[in-house]
């Protein structure tokens, strides 16, 4: 067996991203047709500290009230929106997204495994649209908290016996959850924030 390695690469300056000067030459595209599979393109850093709206019509997730944040709050928001995206992907594919091993604790991963097990055991298929709002972000050093409101009103539910409304399966009322996040030095993600705990309590 071989072992994966964590490797850091030096920062690249591409195009006119923040911190680059306009005198930097643009990369020259290759005109030679490749006869062998192209190597994986070198990834580039994202625009730093800006909120990203991950609403995805194909996946069926909508982020509501996306705020304008910067700095650590933007990093935490982006982590949580990634978390929500992968949560919905897990729910609709009955397969734990591998991204959870990158962005969350083992406890959260265990929760996702439990969700998949429950739905697979019941031959349940979920789909439709998942609407979510991330709010009340608070960052204190290497710790952060947030509140998330999950609305399953447009979720579709199906099992071998037929279809059900969200109300019939107990998902008719939006669900509130509190999230704790910590920042470590592992480099687990580029920003090293990790979702530690998710507690669903009450409605919103």
């Amino acid at each position: 067996m071989s072992r994966g390695r964590w490797a850091l690469v030096p920062a690249l300056c591409v195009a006119l991203a923040a911190g680059c000067t306009s005198s930097d030459p643009a990369p020259v595209p290759s005109t030679t047709k490749a006869t062998t599979p192209s190597p994986t393109p070198t990834p580039t850093p994202t625009a730093a500290n800006e909120v990203q709206d991950l609403s995805n019509a194909e996946l069926g997730i909508e982020f509501e009230d996306v705020p304008s944040l910067t700095g650590a709050e933007a990093e935490v928001y982006n982590l949580l929106s990634t978390y929500q995206t992968e949560y919905w992907r897990t729910m609709t594919t009955n397969s734990v997204s591998p991204t959870f091993s990158v962005i969350s604790s083992g406890d959260v991963q265990a929760t996702m495994k439990g969700i998949v097990k429950t739905n697979k055991d019941g031959n349940i298929t979920l789909g439709g649209v998942f609407s979510t709002t991330i709010s009340d972000l608070a960052v204190d050093g290497d710790k952060a908290t947030a509140a998330i409101c999950d609305d399953y009103a447009r979720m579709t539910v199906k099992d071998p016996n037929g279809t059900y409304t969200p109300e019939q399966v107990g998902y008719g009322v939006p669900r509130h959850k509190d999230v704790t996040v910590t920042r470590g030095t592992s480099g687990t993600t580029g920003t090293s924030w990790t979702v530690q705990t998710v507690k669903v309590e009450g409605s919103c």
Partner: protein, 330 residues
């Protein structure tokens, strides 16, 4: 009864489309955050407890039991196949696009040489997973740094989860889960028919198939604790006797001419006692409690250390006791 018929509707393009009908039975339990039981089986390690020994009859015994589950703070969890991982994280794949993930990819987060395994569907990536507590303490961070993802091909053994456990905890588990045979108590005299013994007379006690040596081992991968014990004697007691009997061994079976090594004297008959369930006559309960001398060793200390052990369950018998009237003649 649920209706299994499909509802036929007209689709947008005017095509007849069959869709599942609204179910009218009990709705299923849908797994979601807050409504599914977390599955930590990947990090749970069962303690294996093995008990063995010999009896006074010369036979041996051995049992293996599953002890409690210990939760490892961190472990390796099987992830996607080589093919699945590549398809998910390749440029433009469903796992890409979020800034959080792109930053991670930029920082070298993707598994080393993952492209080499892109066509393999029966080999898997094993990735570290830690509890929230482990992450909060920093242990998870260090575990991740020390244990990058491992590629396990179709013929390779999966990594074994290890858990740091104090051998004294395993020793205590060994004691809790120890299973020793109890043996069978015999006595003499026994009046023909009733099996009763006699008030005021020495009643020989002995136990057949009693364990005289025992070894108990509790282990998880990488760590074990073992107890070695030898029987030192029996304490025989009963509410019908004024004094307990301390016996040096398991007693000696009565045969004509044998030496008595364990006996008890009943001071009261069982007349007037109620008949216990399963008995035909009133009886006194007699307990033969074994005592043991024990030491223990572990994967961290091969030098035997004395160990005080609580005695296991006693060997028990229900013995009727009668008074025999002496005849006097003149």
């Amino acid at each position: 009864m649920l209706r299994a018929a499909l509802a036929v509707v007209i689709g947008v393009a005017g095509v007849l489309v069959a869709v599942p009908a609204q179910a009218d039975g009990t709705p299923p339990v849908v797994g979601g955050e807050g409504s599914a039981t977390p599955d930590t089986s990947g990090g749970a390690i069962s303690v294996k407890v093995t008990t063995s020994g010999t009896t006074n009859g010369g036979s041996s015994f051995s049992t293996t039991t599953t002890g409690p589950k210990l939760q490892a703070p961190c472990w390796f969890e099987r992830g996607m196949s080589g093919y699945e991982y590549y398809e998910f994280y390749k440029p433009g794949g469903p796992g890409r696009g979020a800034d959080t993930i792109e930053d991670w990819v930029y920082g070298g987060g993707l598994h080393d040489k993952f492209e080499d395994y892109k066509d393999i569907k029966d080999g898997y990536w094993y990735e570290t997973s830690c509890t929230a507590e482990a992450n909060a303490s920093g242990y998870g961070t260090q575990f991740y740094l020390d244990n990058p993802a491992i590629w396990v091909g179709p013929q390779d053994p999966a990594p074994v989860t290890q858990v740091d456990v104090d051998p004294t905890d395993l020793r205590d588990i060994a004691l809790d889960y120890m299973q020793l045979p109890v043996g069978t108590m015999h006595w003499n005299p026994q009046l023909r028919g009733s099996g009763a013994t006699i008030v005021g007379e020495d009643t020989w006690i002995w136990v057949d198939d009693a364990p005289t040596t025992a070894m108990v081992r509790a282990e998880v991968p990488g760590t074990w604790a073992r107890i070695d014990a030898t029987l030192t004697g029996l304490t025989v007691s009963s509410d019908g006797a004024n004094e307990d009997a301390q016996c040096g061994g398991t007693g000696t079976a009565w045969v004509s001419g044998a030496q008595k090594t364990c006996s008890i004297q009943f001071s009261r008959s069982t007349a007037g006692q109620h008949v216990k369930q399963g008995q035909k006559l009133p009886t006194w309960t007699v307990d033969a409690q074994s005592q043991w001398a024990a030491t223990w060793t572990s994967s961290e200390n091969a030098n035997p250390e004395a160990l005080t052990v609580e005695p296991p369950d006693p060997t028990t018998a229900e013995i009727p006791v009668m008074e025999v009237q002496a005849l006097s003649t003149s």
